[in-house]
């Protein structure tokens, strides 16, 4: 039986194929599983990540869109808001229930109106402006703040690697 989640995901997939959005491309990891998406994010121009092609996997829960998907980079990426294992940590991927003051920041957290497109656009904007206040990768955040040159070097290495993988 097709659930609400799978119907909605199929619809979004179809829309993205028909009307691709600048900055990323999306598809399924495995054609038979609508809950696992593979997206390739193009490093946004005029940022340290420009020129990179970063692969990520989006995993949707069965009660999507009421709960958010998780996003994990499979390409190596050095960024304050990406855990060393590749998981992405941004506020719109957190369900509002987790935060005791959730209602105050509801607009920054997950709500069911978000789509694959709005999530990926949030990730792209995260790449261009890291938030070093609640970092997932503390080392990267410290470097970003204190030793920007080292940080740049590491990111360039990631960008080069991602190009070689193509």
């Amino acid at each position: 039986m097709a659930s609400q989640a799978s119907l909605l995901l199929q619809k979004q997939l179809k829309d993205l194929c028909k009307n691709p959005v600048d900055g990323f491309s999306a598809g399924l990891v495995d054609e038979s599983n609508i809950f696992e998406w593979s997206v390739t994010i193009i490093g946004p121009p005029d940022t340290l990540y420009e020129g990179g092609f970063f692969n990520a996997i989006m995993s949707f829960p069965s009660n999507y869109p009421n709960s958010p998907p998780s996003v994990k980079f499979t390409s190596e990426i050095w960024h304050p808001n990406v855990y060393p294992d590749g998981r992405v940590c941004i506020s719109i991927l957190h369900p509002p229930g987790e935060d005791p003051n959730g209602y105050e920041l509801a607009s920054e957290r997950w709500t069911p109106v978000h789509t694959v497109e709005s999530i990926v656009l949030s990730i792209i904007s995260m790449l261009s402006s890291p938030n070093d206040e609640s970092p997932a990768n503390v080392e990267a955040a410290k470097e970003w703040r204190d030793r920007r040159d080292d940080f740049k070097k590491k990111v360039s290495r990631c960008v080069r690697k991602s190009q070689e993988m193509l």
Binding site: Q4, L7, L8, K11, N63, P65, N66, S67, I92, P95, P96, G97, G102, Y103, A106, S107, E108, T111, P112, V113, H114
Partner: protein, 589 residues
Amino acid sequence: MESEDDMHDANDIDSLDDDFYSGETEDAPLDYYSDYDDEADDYFEDADRIESRRPEQNFTILKESDIKQRQEEDVTRVATVLSISRIFASILLRYYNWSVSRVHDAWFADEEQVRKTVGLLEKPIVQLDNNTKELTCGICFENYPRARIEMASCGHPYCISCWEGYISTSISDGPGCLMLRCPDPTCGAAVGQDMISLLKSDEDKQKYARYLLRSYIEDNKKSKWCPAPGCEYAVTFDAGSGGNYDVSCLCSYSFCWNCTEEAHRPVDCGTVAKWILKNSAESENMNWILANSKPCPKCKRPIEKNQGCMHMTCTPPCKYEFCWLCLGVWSDHGERTGGFYACNRYETAKQEGVYDDTERRREMAKNSLERYTHYYERWASNQSSRQKALADLQQMQTVHIEKLSDIQCQPESQLKFITEAWLQIIECRRVLKWTYAYGFYLPEHEHAKKQFFEYLQGEAESGLERLHQCAEKELQPFLCADEPSREFNDFRTKLAGLTSVTRNYFENLVRALENGLSDVDSNGASFSRATSSKNAAGSSKSRSGRVKGTFRTSMSSRMNDDSHWCCEHCTYANVKSATTCQMCYQQRR
């Protein structure tokens, strides 16, 4: 206990006393003792009067239906005063922790700001064209006929099944669902109870209703749930009416409204908190130390013996050598004591030798552990004694009363005095328990207070022991008897008498502790005079004189004398000239 209340109480104590004696113990019990059989009913009337004469209750116990009713009333009030829907009123109240006055204050100060922060929109953000037949759901992006689309006050359209998913996810996340907002991230419109009723699942609706009910108690400063396990009642408390925080729930659990520990009158919350903290930090250590160690006979440090022979050498700097068995000095050991390894001189010789000041100080430091143990053991034993009494009362009510009623051919209503005795025991054990926490924190240097306190505590405790003994042991023969015993009425008289006497002792104790033992400060002189001069307090026989002199009279009688007689029933020491006991009103025999 606020200091102001203390002063108030201190000034009022005499009038309270008068009231207390004239109403409660004076008239009816006299009748009842003099001729019980004819006037048996008086006793029970009197008991009722005691109930109704309790100080005005400053708390209310709420059942679920009461809570709902109050909640509804508050919502209606806000809705009426602010001319808004009940749904909005409920959201507002929830936001302002169910304080009607805070809602009113905030609303009339700046309605627009309140509407914005709480999310109660006057006009929809999204205006709908009335002619629109179909709308697109903002979550699943399907088109639906108008009837399948719902929206909060903002007008953002979502289909019913997406709403259901959104709301039930939020409900399963917890009480945060009471603050639910529109799914659109740019919109803060509140989602109220009307949207909840869209849900198909009764389970979710019930959960939401439960959270709403709980919120009314938990987020409201004036109410709390009864902390007893399994109890579903709540308590509202009127804090304005004085220092007594004791609350007793309909489930029979008594607790302190202020700190939600069990009821601890007359000891204040701060002392209780300190004591509980101390116990949790030390009791386990203490139990282990008591079970597994002996103090060094010289330096008092606890020593664990984990191996080998009886020859102990304490660690430096003490280095005392002693025998583990008899704790005597090792140099005395040898053949005379039965050999080195099996000491037969099993009694501890009192320590000899002169202590100099440093040694005494050191001993005092070690003794602090002993001091704590002293109070803790008594605190804990009253606690367990109370638990036992609770169980006994339960047993009494469910089994024994009926049995006794059969054996002694008495209606159960005539056996109420037994239940009352047990209730008194339970209450007294509770008070007594906490007086040991009080005693622990009573400063060492306040000698007069300490003496007075220990005197009152001792009197109360021995009264309680007599009562407990009587209720526990002396009832037994009547339970095992085959036929009605003639002595049963004597037993009734004795037990009821002890109950009322013990109550008096404890009321004295409670009152004195709540005054911070201030009688010692103001009456310290007369207190000491009374002990040296026989007649200072004892000669006054007038009613008021007796009342005021209660402590002092009995105190003096204890310290010197042949000019007093001890009541056979309650052991109260009366002046020689009295013919009836001034405490329990029994005739002198």
